[in-house]
């Protein structure tokens, strides 16, 4: 694996220690949400809508309640009316009213799989049987499954109270229209020598974490509730559940279990409030775990979309104008990532004249949730293939066109201040200079494609404490659930600051009562923002250690320094020999008590991420199947704390992007029923579908972080679909405008091209 990691002045950062939580995971002791069990625990199951769109006329639960072993049934009638307004919850804006309606449908079901009722029983089998005894009377309505269907005049309306600013008091499925403008688009296109205009359709896809959603709720008679669950944000589970249940945040404690993947999909709630409600009704702990089919039907996939891109360039390769129209499926309630899609789609390029119109559209599908760089991959599928076409028209290498137009320090962003130091061009150059790009690709039906991607990354709030133990080891406590090895990074930052071996630092993820507020693990923010809090907390502990040593030596704290875990006087003095942290730790009781370093941040100085991916494919012209021959990603990672986990993020995101581009899709029938509700039909890449994904770590330090860190978790998923489309074009000469580029779709395009060529040559004859 190529790595240009320079370790500079660091001792621990940039090395590759074995992660602290690894042992529990290889011996099987790690506890994920579904592994929790308590005495007297009951099992919950959820009744889900068999219709895409229907009015609920009545729900009868008495037969279910009579089944032996059934202890309680809850419906929306058990939930308070939640406020109908936008509230900030972490990274997302949440409307509690809609959130509550997604947890349990009120008077309408809005998608196949929409939760209607939940049962608690003494076994999961009984709970399942009870679901069949709940009688729901529906009035089936026509569904609107796509943005086209939902936006056309006379479309079935999902939410009677939904309005947008432009349409006044008219009922609508368009929740939001965002517009971004710069310069004069018309004039820009007039100045262009080449204009490419295309329309794209991308399918809804799922994060596909292997661990299904789960929750165990325990309600105590004093009104306090505890929730154990696998989540990316324990504090978000707490605040969102409190909203839905209508209780103060302080009444709920959330204990984050180990989490079996999230990728954005575990940043909201589904089962958590149900577990508390059922526990309250029964007086027992209640566990709910989704089946895979429930995960696919009723958790939060990411939007399918329709995107039109028009871009113009001058003969010498300067992009002079771009116009984008994009509409994203929000699912049943407002809140697709179309805003992010709009702000990322042209982000890598300096374009003087642009206009972007973006629409958030409700459709009869599950409410979308975040998925790794939400909204950016499908956007890049559109823009990055158009860029490729422009490069071809100009006769310029696609990487050179990107370098020529690429953003750098000082370039304007679509919104906000100009970019600070960023590494986009560096990622293009890294690919250009890679062994991969320099090795010629030959053979029939083979092609090479490149594409780039941008992601903002997030900052937000984090808390951390660093405890110095009596034996001179330390623990670092944060509120950021670890989904990809972040505990190791937190321990490494602490070890670096204190000069301890990394094995002497124990990293922990605490529950919501045991650490200060910490926003969700998402937006690639943990190593950046929580890492910043950890860095400061460790500094705080270091400062206190110096003060204590000063007390022992009866000198001023400024005269003491801490290097490599050893406290010493800046100027040597008789009888005041240097002390290790271990030695100092034994003296803490006598010098003022234990040392707790602490810090909290609302992190500013976020460094955005760029990646460029190169992929070689071979297409089977008879089946349309795409085989990936080689794949390399270059990403600006700021400063890699633990390079192996940075590479892991790059490889994992690339793998998901490849699945998105080639195979994965939600397949609904005419009635709006999801037809691929299992992993056999929702096909994610296996290790046979993927090559070894090569990684190039480009390190352009983020000036906004003390260690140069920028988020690394998300941007890798952005380029692959477009890179694949560009490679497919070079292999078989068809420009794909739909994802997934699955065998049937690609074959159809190949046959269409062949037919067109035949008609043409027949006409010529």
């Amino acid at each position: 694996m190529e790595a240009t990691t320079s370790n500079g002045k660091f001792k621990v950062i940039g090395t590759r220690p074995i992660r602290h939580d690894g042992i529990d995971k290889v011996i099987g002791r790690a506890k994920y949400g579904a592994d929790y069990a308590f005495p007297g625990m009951l099992f919950g199951k959820v009744l889900r809508s068999p219709h895409a769109h229907a009015r609920i006329k009545s729900i009868k639960t008495d037969k279910a309640l009579k089944l032996p072993g059934v202890k309680a049934v809850v419906t929306a009638a058990d939930l308070p009316e939640a406020a109908n307004r936008l509230e900030q919850a972490g990274e997302m804006a949440i409307n509690p009213h809609y959130l509550s309606m997604n947890i349990l449908a009120r008077d309408k079901v809005l998608y196949d799989g929409h939760a209607i009722a939940a049962v608690a029983a003494t076994s999961p089998h009984i709970a399942e049987e009870a679901l069949k005894l709940i009688e729901v009377d529906y009035e089936v309505l026509e569904p609107a499954m796509t943005v086209d269907a939902a936006m056309k005049p006379g479309a079935p309306i999902l939410l009677p109270d939904l309005r947008n600013r432009e349409e006044g008091d008219k009922q609508t499925n368009v929740a939001q229209h965002y517009q971004f403008k710069r310069g004069d688009v018309e004039a820009g296109f007039r100045a262009a020598d080449y204009v490419v205009e295309r329309e794209f359709n991308t399918a809804m896809v799922h994060q596909g974490y292997i661990e299904p959603h789960n929750a165990v709720g325990i309600y105590n008679a004093d009104g306090q509730a505890t929730i154990y669950c696998s989540t990316q944000g324990a504090f978000d589970v707490r605040s969102l559940s409190a909203q839905v249940l209508g209780v103060p945040v302080g009444k709920i404690k959330v204990v984050p279990a180990e989490i079996g993947g999230g990728f954005g999909g575990k940043t909201t709630i589904y089962l958590e409030p149900l577990s508390v409600l059922l526990s309250k009704k029964t007086g027992h702990p209640v566990k709910l775990v989704m089946t895979r089919s429930e995960v696919l039907r009723a958790s939060g996939p990411t939007s399918g979309s329709k995107i039109k891109v028009k871009m113009g360039a001058t003969r010498d390769g300067k992009i002079v104008a771009a116009q984008v129209w994009m509409a994203y499926e929000a699912g049943a309630f407002p809140g697709s990532p179309v805003g992010a899609g709009a702000m990322t789609i042209l982000a890598p390029y300096t374009i003087e004249n642009l206009q972007i119109d973006a629409y958030d559209v409700v459709v009869n599908r599950p409410k979308t949730a975040a998925y790794r760089a939400p909204g950016a991959s499908n956007a890049a599928m559109a823009s990055e293939t158009v860029i490729d076409e422009l490069a071809e028209k100009c006769g310029i290498d696609p990487l050179d066109l990107r370098i020529q137009n690429g953003v750098k320090e000082g370039s304007p962003q679509v919104v906000g201040p100009p970019f600070r130091r960023i590494g986009f061009i560096e990622t293009c150059e890294a690919i250009k200079n890679s062994d991969h790009y320099k090795s010629p690709l030959s053979g029939p039906y083979r092609g090479r494609g490149v594409a780039s991607g941008f992601w903002f990354n997030a900052g937000m709030q984090s808390s951390a404490t660093v405890n110095i133990h009596t034996d001179g080891t330390a623990s670092v406590v944060t509120g950021s659930p670890d989904i990809g090895g972040s505990r190791a990074s937190m321990a490494m930052i602490t070890a670096e600051v204190l000069g301890l071996p990394v094995t002497d630092v124990r990293p922990l993820v605490a529950d919501t009562d045991s650490i200060g507020h910490t926003d969700v693990t998402g937006g690639s923010r943990v190593t950046f923002a929580t890492g910043m809090a950890v860095y400061e907390a460790a500094q705080d502990a270091a400062r206190q250690l110096r003060e204590r040593a000063a007390k022992v030596w009866e000198v001023k704290p400024e005269d003491v320094e801490l290097h490599d875990g050893v406290l010493s006087l800046k100027e040597k003095a008789e009888g005041k020999a240097p002390m290790t942290i271990k030695e100092m730790a034994t003296k803490l009781a006598r010098t003022g008590g234990p040392i707790i370093g602490r810090a909290s941040v609302n992190a500013r100085g976020v460094g955005p991420a760029f990646a460029t991916t190169c992929v070689d494919v071979e297409v089977d012209p008879d089946t349309g199947k795409v085989q990936i021959l080689r794949c390399t990603i270059a990403q600006d990672v700021g400063k890699a704390i633990h390079p192996s986990y940075v590479e892991g993020q790059m490889q994992g995101g690339t793998a998901q992007g490849i699945g998105w581009g080639l195979n994965e899709e939600y397949f609904y029938d005419q009635k709006g029923i999801l037809r691929n509700t299992g992993l056999l039909d929702y096909r994610m890449p296996t290790c046979l579908d993927l090559p070894l994904i090569e990684t190039i770590l480009v390190e352009v330090p983020n000036p906004g972080h003390p260690l140069g860190v920028r988020g690394v978790g998300e941007v890798s998923i952005v380029p692959p679909p477009a890179a694949l489309a560009n490679a497919i074009y070079r292999a078989v000469g068809v420009r794909m405008t739909e994802t997934p580029m699955s065998p049937p779709r690609l074959l159809k395009a190949i046959l269409k091209k062949r037919a067109a060529e035949e008609t043409q040559s027949a006409a010529a004859d």
Partner: protein
């Protein structure tokens, strides 16, 4: 768990320990191992035989515990991840998974370890394509598989070297 309906008494060995229990006839081996025996390292990702997270070894062959009923394990010898380490000594595969950073979230780890244990027990070679084929019944959504393949290849290679 008090599931009514038919129960049957089974006796089998799990990680070398003999277990004798009444089990509901409709309970899967995975649910039995996890819920009744408390051995939760056998993970459930799909419950329909695709993800491989629930892989265990039954009488020397890797099996998806979500697709097998507990009653079918009567008389069998079952091995789960909890039985891989001997006297606190990690198995070479467990060690290699740590050394090669072969996991991110770790949810797929048990399944991969059991599939690979089966592979190693059958004397598989360290050819990458063959390893990838053998692992293609296990899904990992986090890693892109590179480090998993590396870790397993390293162990198989060492094992082959020892045989020679």
């Amino acid at each position: 768990m008090s599931t009514p309906g038919f129960h049957q008494r089974i006796r089998f060995s799990i990680n070398g320990r003999i277990v004798e229990r009444e089990v509901p006839v409709r309970q899967t081996l995975a649910d039995f191992i996890r819920d009744a025996l408390g051995l939760t390292a056998t993970r459930l990702g799909c419950e329909h035989g695709v993800c491989g997270a629930c892989t265990v070894i039954v009488d020397g062959a890797s099996v998806r515990a979500c697709l097998m009923l507990a009653v079918q394990a009567d008389g069998a010898e079952v091995r789960t991840v909890e039985g891989l380490a001997q006297d606190d000594e990690l198995s070479p595969l467990q060690k290699a998974f740590l050394d090669h950073h072969a996991l991110q979230c770790g949810f797929c780890t048990s399944g991969f370890l059991m599939t690979a244990t089966d592979l190693a027990a059958h004397g598989a070679g360290s050819n990458e394509t063959e390893i990838r084929e053998a692992l293609s019944g296990n899904l990992c959504r986090c890693t892109g598989y590179a480090n998993l393949v590396d870790a397993i290849a390293a162990v198989l290679k060492e094992q082959a070297a020892k045989r020679e």
